[in-house]
Symmetry: C2
Subunit: 118 residues, 2 copies
C-alpha cells in the first residue's frame, strides 16, 4: 500500500499514447498516459473506460458528437462505443479500466502498447 | 454519456461523510465525498477502494501506520484492510469502489449512508 503522487509518476515518462500502470483495484488498473495528436478509432467490447483529465484538454470523438474534457473533468466511455481521442496540445490523463483492456481496443496495430507498471 | 466536472459536482452538497455517485463503469461507482473530522474504523470484506484527493489533505489510519494523502495523490485500500479516514480540515475526495461497497464497510450504524446520484 503506497501513496501515489500523480504528477511525480507523470514525470517518469515522455512517450505519447503509451499508458503506464500506477495502481490496481478489484479487476481494474489505474493508468496514466500522455496524449498528443490523434489516436485511432476503436472500441472495447467488454470494458467501460474512464478518462480523467489531469492537465490540458482532451477531445473524445464519438460517431455522433465530440466530448470535450478539460482538467478536473472526466468522461466514461461505455463498452462497445466507438471513440477516437484527440489532443491538439499534450494532455495528461488518468485512466481506469479493466485489466483486460487493450489501448487500441478491437484493433491490434502499430499503436498497440502493452501497459507496464511504473 | 456526459462530461463530469468534479468541482461543479462538489458544489452541489455540503454534508460530510456522505458520498454522492457521479459515474459508473464496469461494476463500480465513481463517487465524490467531503470529509472532515474522524470517521470510524471499518473494512470492506470484498471491495478494494480508491481514494483520490482532489482538495486538502487526508490521513488514512491503518492499524500499523498512517497514510498521508494530499491533493493530486491517491491511495488504494485493499479489501479486508482495516482503515479509518481522518481529515483535520475539510478534504474533497474522489472514490472508486464496487457498487456493493457500504461507506461504513462491515459496520451498520449512524454513520452508514446510502450513496445517491447527483
Amino acid at each position: 500500500m503506497e501513496v501515489v503522487n500523480i504528477a511525480a509518476k507523470l514525470d517518469l515518462f515522455t512517450e505519447h499514447w503509451q499508458p503506464r500502470i500506477v495502481g490496481e483495484l478489484n479487476d481494474s488498473y489505474v493508468k496514466l498516459v500522455k496524449l498528443k495528436g490523434e489516436f485511432v478509432w476503436h472500441n472495447h467490447e467488454n470494458e467501460d473506460e474512464l478518462f480523467l483529465v489531469v492537465k490540458g484538454h482532451l477531445t473524445i470523438k464519438l460517431r455522433d458528437r465530440d466530448l470535450s474534457v478539460s482538467a478536473g473533468e472526466f468522461a466514461i466511455i461505455p463498452r462497445g462505443v466507438e471513440h477516437c481521442p484527440v489532443a491538439d496540445e499534450e494532455v495528461h490523463v488518468l485512466l481506469l479500466e479493466p485489466k483486460t483492456t487493450r489501448n487500441t481496443g478491437d484493433l491490434h496495430n502499430e499503436r498497440t502498447f502493452e501497459s507496464r507498471w511504473i
